[in-house]
Symmetry: none
Amino acid sequence: MILNSQPDCRCVGQYSSGEEALTALPALAPQVIIMDVNLPGINGVECVRQLVAKGVDAHVLMLTMHKDTDVIVDALKAGASGYLVKPVEADQLLAAVRDIHGGGAPMTSSIARKLVQVFQRKPVPEGEALTTREAEVLSLLSKGHAYKKIADEMKISYASVHTYISRMYKKLHVNSRAEAVAWHTGR
Amino acid sequence: MILNSQPDCRCVGQYSSGEEALTALPALAPQVIIMDVNLPGINGVECVRQLVAKGVDAHVLMLTMHKDTDVIVDALKAGASGYLVKPVEADQLLAAVRDIHGGGAPMTSSIARKLVQVFQRKPVPEGEALTTREAEVLSLLSKGHAYKKIADEMKISYASVHTYISRMYKKLHVNSRAEAVAWHTGR
DNA sequence: TGTCATGTCGACAAAACTGTCTACAAGCGG
DNA sequence: CCGCTTGTAGACAGTTTTGTCGACATGACA
């Protein structure tokens, strides 16, 4: 009703289970899918995963009561692009649908904060603070660049790159590029 | 000016470099910090990292022109909670400050979408299914073990280790241990 | 029955990396 | 002023990795 009341929206289907959606949606090819998590049978996240696997290329907006961080992350990994927590006003819903259709990722502020926290929660392996240059070479090391290439990009000599890396390895208590990269990407 | 025009906001300091901010902010203990990325001297992301390390417990709102996914993720990892891309209207800025102070994570819709994509990014599904042995060596490679040590642990020859790694590199489209490790730890 | 993926092994050369020195200038804190 | 950190740079030797050839046995699959 809410969608059909708008000139630029049309509801092309609605289903009461993930299984139904999985059989009907691939042929309908909707632009936006609004999905709950709690469904009879398979859950919404799994449903999204299977829709994506079937090649359904729609923007998926999760609209559910789950505000558990793991569920949110799982939903996004499965292929959802937006996440709203009920109850949602008609205005919010329409704005979100338009946003997601336009390439945005609508979500409530608290959801966004939880996402941010996923990036921030990190048990930092011990290691002293790296200097600016050390951090820079580490970043480039992680991309697999050779010392020579790093030297070029940073516009310093090969020898300096070597120096920073040596000092950094000591600080991080590692002794190979691979360990340093693991430290870097895993924090 | 914008902040001070509000009854519930007060600007307690402003600095033209990360270094200045690092010396002044720990004593000021602000509730919200608005930070650019492009700074003379250390960059804004590094500045945030060091502020956090110094125990500054503020909500950090990045306000910058960088819309590169890596920068965004790095900023959030460093401790930022919000991310706006310039230009920003006064209204938006104030809303974001209030939002972040209230525990939200203000960000523009396109930034949110990029964050979502970080969760969704998964390397090409084609020629990259690793075999059991390949996955094993990759795991050990990530710990920084030398080929010889990996051979010992897996009770196979150095040559076999070499073979698996070569085959794996081709599958992952990488050509160094560092890139493989980055692929591995980055899911 | 033959091809293909996988697991196993070998050799060689070129390239890259690591360890360990040394050196010097600039800046910061005591 | 001195000591320490950081950024910069160079050298050398030894180790490790990477690329590129191979080879052979198994088992799956068509």
